[in-house]
Symmetry: C2
Subunit: 226 residues, 2 copies
């Protein structure tokens, strides 16, 4: 499903090139549940943005579903994201003057889903993350963990085959984290979706079947979770 | 140092009053190290914003250092914050077109600290949180955990006697979290600063000497940490 070969990513800074990803190669099959871990600043979000077709690598190749995507245009990447990818951002990225419900409906608007069906599915997704009582609140009327859960609901509502989640439980208490991880487990085991999540917590990584560790822009280990 | 009596906080929503804090009373002495825990949405950040003089309660009284502060004007609250309070926000709240260094200098600008001393202290604070190599990056050139550490550095650089930290390690790996908690412990034990931090993780709360649990806008328990 996903195949990266020698992916690098650098940023220009003061006339130099700051190397963030230094040659990442990996394969992820359909239906896997992968956790990515590593120190703060090691390149996890940068890798997730490339995997999620939100950003392009500086060099290397990315085969997604048999299609080379590292050199596609912004429009072509957007089209792939709308059809195949759900993404929970580390910083949530919710639209501000927009209710939780409307935020969750957004991917379905792009997929041309009719309004009645959109509303029903958005409400179901929000109920699954415990936000039935907060549907009409805007992000600035929600707690940090509630905003995070709106971002999670939005990423799973379109039945995208691949879900990327960048630290989805960082603002949640233990009980709510377990509910969210059970949701991801269900999406993976019952609905066969591929889940790739970044986390700093071993308790969260434990739900995955494989753990990839990134240090300083390189893969340090890649192991089955036993 | 801090005394809350029957603090409530409500928000108007659709003509009704949504009650968030339902009568909070507590006392915190000079030099304490307190952790506040509770479910997502229970009112922790709302309570922290009132304690940190960023917001006013709907009713109840707040005695800070013997002064009644619940009815002060915005300017008077700002003046208290500048002199007495360092605050790490759950959402970081960094200035965007501004380097990490300038962000950390900001509280010292308000305190009229001369430029040379400001720069030196800001660099020291950033080095303490492991960001010496990222001083001139702007927030959108920093990882989530790096932004969080800039917010932490900014909150401690002005030697404020009271430090409020709203989930300061949510985006940090275990090793970096330990370094941050050691920093807070040092501020508390060596420099005698009062530390009040919100966390969802028991491992982090363990560093505090007292744990207050909030559920549904009320204090459920308030215990010495043994
Ligand atoms: N402006 C507002 N209008 C209406 N409700 C609000 C507003 N701001 C916050 N709330 C509600 O207040 C409640 C408490 O929010 P708060 O941010 O204090 O929670 P919290 O305990 O910090 O949660 P978390 O652990 O998720 O950060 C939430 O249910 C939230 O929806
Ligand atoms: N636009 C940019 N310009 C320069 N450097 C950048 C830029 N964006 C990110 N970086 C750097 O890239 C590195 C990796 O960032 P990334 O966000 O991928 O880290 P991360 O592993 O997700 O960290 P965290 O666990 O803190 O979220 C960081 O050191 C960061 O400073
Ligand atoms: Mg990140
Ligand atoms: Mg909060």
């Amino acid at each position: 499903l996903i195949e990266l070969k020698n992916i690098t990513k650098s940023y220009p800074l003061d006339g130099l090139q700051l190397k963030i990803l230094k040659g990442i190669s990996l394969k992820i099959d359909d239906g896997e549940f992968v956790a990515i871990m590593g120190p703060s600043g090691s390149g996890k979000s940068t890798l997730m943005n490339i995997l999620g077709c939100l950003d392009k690598p500086s060099s290397g190749t990315y085969l997604l579903d048999g299609q080379r995507v590292e050199n596609l245009s912004a429009d072509e990447l957007a089209e792939i994201r709308n059809r195949k990818i759900g993404f929970v951002f580390q910083g949530f990225n919710l639209l501000s003057r927009t209710t939780a419900l409307e935020n969750v409906e957004l991917p379905m608007v792009y997929a041309n889903i009719p309004a009645e069906k959109r509303e029903r599915r958005a409400k179901e997704a929000l109920a699954k993350v415990g936000l039935k009582e907060r549907m009409y609140h805007q992000p600035n009327q929600l707690s940090g963990g509630q905003q995070q859960r709106v971002a999670i609901a939005r990423a799973v509502v379109n039945e995208a085959p691949i879900v990327f989640a960048d630290e989805p439980t960082g603002n949640l208490d233990t009980k709510m984290s377990i509910e969210i991880m059970n949701l991801f487990t269900k999406l993976n085991e019952e609905l066969k979706r591929t889940i790739i999540l970044v986390t700093h917590e071993d308790d969260i990584a434990r739900y995955a079947k494989r753990i990839i560790r990134i240090v300083d822009g390189e893969i340090h280990s890649d192991e089955r979770n036993v």
